[in-house]
Symmetry: C2
Subunit: 329 residues, 2 copies
DNA sequence: TTGTACGCGTTATCAT
DNA sequence: ATGATAACGCGTACAA
């Protein structure tokens, strides 16, 4: 079986506490006992039981990262950043994938609370504002979102500004009938607002039938939505999309409908995932530094934990328009 | 603070054990006590402490999935399959990303053992055969690999057969000078062997300078390796790559060197990730059903756990050659 | 049907 | 410098 402090203590002929001290490098211990105990420790292959430690200390050295879609390349890169900071501070990360399901998100939060995680990062949460506020009140949470959550510790991706930038880029290139592929999720409307603002500022009309919604972010859903959009509103000459995956689905639909890019249809995305520069034509998009985002949101969580959950902070993130050929740029 | 069984017991005026019984639906309890306790449970928002439970039961309801590269789209999809089966059986999954570093892999295994995970899935392990055997002996492990590990519970991706298939596809199309971009990792040589066998069977010579190694699987590394390969051995007319990411890096290098695909250079990959059909030209590759792979390797882990780590089993996976334009197909 | 007492492996308190 | 003992929150054996 697994060796415990007691096993080591018996074998070494000392008390449990002494062994504990050696393990944790704490208190004053004579060099010879230390060496002796260390030897036995090594011989028996002792490994501290994190469960017991957690029970006593009330800490689990574990945090959780909740994301909606692990297959969206955006999130793995965020995870990388989160993980690097977490590791540097002795934390392990539970990665929880909700498949865009708010119920699953709440279920995870419940389970994680039971596992006594020290903090939770909500990344692209699909909860509504009320749920989000409640969760942020009850748990130690830091949030990464392009929405504007009422909560207290947030890293904010400027979704409104991003869609404004991509859409304005299209209006500036002379497009007058611009569609939008958006994500239909609770309280998720800032990107739509950016799209609408760009149209308004350009003096262009809004038309509800130029907007299509996808229930989840993936290429397939966007492909379907875009096909319907382009079929029912063929007058459209450009589409600004919720993100890169949505844009890539739109590109596929366009290609299938015989529309050449970018001449017959201009398309923009959001995120600048690796795929964006690999597809043909390369995708005009908004660059977001995902790894750094992950680092920052984890650093924020560390502060939240240190502040005992009382921290109020809101950080904004820089974005940059990357013009490539998909928009005729 | 957090409410415990004791808090509930005091408030409800019953014993701790009675509350415990209500929580776990066990033993005979009078309907009225049950209701009463349930009400208090609810009122106080009781949530079992998984740490304490784990300490008593010796189980943590947690497993771990160790992968080398979360940014390789292959792995998130495996994760999805693992997670679905894990959830269905009441397990949470720790996702551990090693960045291709064997030392980090061992470190994770150590930490996970400390957290008393009930089992570990090694997916694309970078450990050498000796280390792998040792880990499999000491822990409850199921393995997903294209290598041929000596261990006992393995789902095997036929890497040799896959590279044989892609490379033979190239020889059949008349290519006589075929390069290979391989992964340099411990005991990782079965894909190279597939490549070599295809050349031999076609009566073609092997040439060490037609093979380049990447230290890690990512587009950038492959781009660099391919550029060197195509520059120093411009006589090559085709490249069969370790996997799709390597192939995509190779495509980029080829494009930059002014070689048109597939006429000036044919390229094949492995995995059939989403990107493979999106790049231009679409990539000829080997299809692997990643979600199913994840399900199977988690199911295997369940068996390993049930067998107390004694299970011996080795499953093979089906693959399929997908011919697209990158190979001239 | 319900309760008491103990143990899980560790850390912390207070002695010695 | 070292050790005995009591927590931590829960489950299990055994009583009542």
């Amino acid at each position: 079986m697994v060796t415990t402090l007691k096993d080591v203590a018996e074998k070494a002929g000392v008390s449990v506490k002494t062994v504990s001290r050696v393990v944790n490098n704490q208190g004053e211990i004579s060099a010879e006992t230390r060496e002796h105990v260390a030897a036995v420790l090594d011989e028996l292959g002792y490994r501290p039981n994190a469960l017991a430690r957690g029970l006593v200390s009330g800490k689990s050295a574990t945090v959780a990262l909740i994301i909606p879609q692990i297959t969206d390349p955006f999130f793995p890169e965020v995870m990388l950043g989160v993980d690097s900071v977490a590791r540097a501070h002795g934390y392990n990360v539970f990665l929880c994938n909700t498949e865009d399901d708010p119920a699953r998100e709440l279920e995870y939060i419940d389970i994680l609370a039971g596992k006594r995680v020290d903090g939770i990062i909500l990344c692209g949460s699909r909860l509504n504002a009320v749920q989000l506020a409640e969760v942020a009140k009850q748990h130690r949470v830091s949030i990464l979102s392009s929405r504007n959550p009422p909560s207290s510790a947030v890293i904010r991706i400027p979704g409104e500004a991003g869609l404004f930038a991509t859409t304005r880029h299209l209006t500036e290139r002379g497009h007058a009938r611009i569609g939008h592929i958006g994500l239909r999720a609770p309280d998720e409307h800032d990107r739509l607002e950016g799209y609408e603002r760009a149209l308004k500022e350009a003096g262009l009309p809004l038309d509800a039938k130029w907007v299509r919604w996808i229930p989840r972010v993936n290429i397939e859903a966007a492909y379907t939505a875009a096909k319907s959009l382009l079929t029912e509103a063929p007058e459209i000459t450009a589409v600004s999309c919720y993100n890169d995956l949505a844009a890539i689905g739109t590109m596929r639909a366009a290609a299938e409908l015989g529309r050449r890019l970018p001449d017959d249809l201009a398309i923009t995305g959001f995120d600048d995932i690796a795929m964006a520069s690999l597809v043909s034509p390369p995708l005009t998009t908004i660059r977001v530094l995902r790894y750094q985002l992950g680092e920052r949101v984890m650093q924020l969580l560390l502060k939240v934990i240190a502040s005992d959950g009382k921290l109020e902070q809101r950080e904004q993130v820089d974005i940059e328009l990357i013009v490539r050929r998909s928009s005729g740029g």
